[in-house]
Symmetry: C2
Subunit: 147 residues, 2 copies
DNA sequence: AAATATTTTTAGGCCAGCCTAATTTCGATG
DNA sequence: CATCGAAATTAGGCTGGCCTAAAAATATTT
């Protein structure tokens, strides 16, 4: 089985392949802030397990299997980012946190968060309660005291 | 510096000390689902760094410093659990997830989540929007279409 | 008090992920 | 086409956190 970090590699490769259609060790290394040597190792693992297509010193691409995983991860990550930013977490922090927790959350939890994001997005108007929450964050007072 | 797992150990010790005033290697091991040998190692680290008081083969307690960390972790964890259960994540899963992400979230994020929990708790009545969210989860339909 | 059971520690290993340094290969350029 | 620089790989190491097995200390039972 793959370790958790593998998912990050797959997603990185997915992103980096957009357009060009392939990517390279160094790009991946830069993207993940890791040394090329480390990428090399991971790539041979990933290719052994059938997630990436690559022969040594050649272009790197994902297999079907790899793309599938990458897309899932991407979606999870995006859900988390949307969720956190909706709550007012600054984008940069939201991205960082999303990236670190996306691999460990239970699918049920992710599903709930996804629903929550949808719930907000499906709102016909910007939800009152979110406004209220913002105000609550600023003032510490709940606008609905006399509700 | 301490690894992330250290926080779990500190919190576990904190919990286990309630009442008795001390705890023991085996208890900690059971609580964290880890072998006693592993606890031994971690304890010597923690005591070297001044978080726990213990001489070999004796009772284990936290130092001031240890208690402080444990309390913070505990609060974070509780916030997360409340937060997730409020959203409808089953308790067991919420606990599991809280435990795994509590160490890695940015403090800003934790703060936001804390506010969110407070926001809900401070509501004079059970918030309408939460009801709506529940319904949305069940039916997939947003109750406010014509809002 | 001796024998036995339990708890704790030590020693030695494993795995994931990272690193550096040395090497190999690729590819661009004179 | 020989050379030289950049990219990739290999080899060897490190750390955190876990493990098992064996040894040592302590506690309990007889």
């Amino acid at each position: 089985m793959l370790g958790r970090r593998a998912e990050d590699y797959l997603e990185a490769i997915y992103e980096l392949c957009r357009g060009k259609g392939y990517t390279r060790v160094k790009e991946i290394a830069d993207h993940l802030k890791v040394k090329p040597a480390t990428v090399s190792e991971m790539l041979s693992k990933l290719s052994r397990e059938g997630y990436v297509l690559y022969r040594k010193r050649l272009f790197v691409t994902l297999t079907e299997k790899g793309v599938e995983v990458a897309r899932e991860v991407r979606e999870r990550r995006e859900t988390l980012i949307k969720f956190l930013t909706a709550l007012g977490v600054p984008k940069e922090i939201a991205e960082r946190d999303a990236c670190t927790i996306e691999h460990v959350l239970h699918e049920v939890t992710v599903e709930k968060l996804k629903m929550f994001v949808k719930f907000i997005e499906n709102s016909p108007i910007y939800p009152k309660w979110l406004e209220h929450f913002e105000e609550f964050c600023k003032t510490g007072k709940h606008p609905c005291r006399f509700f």
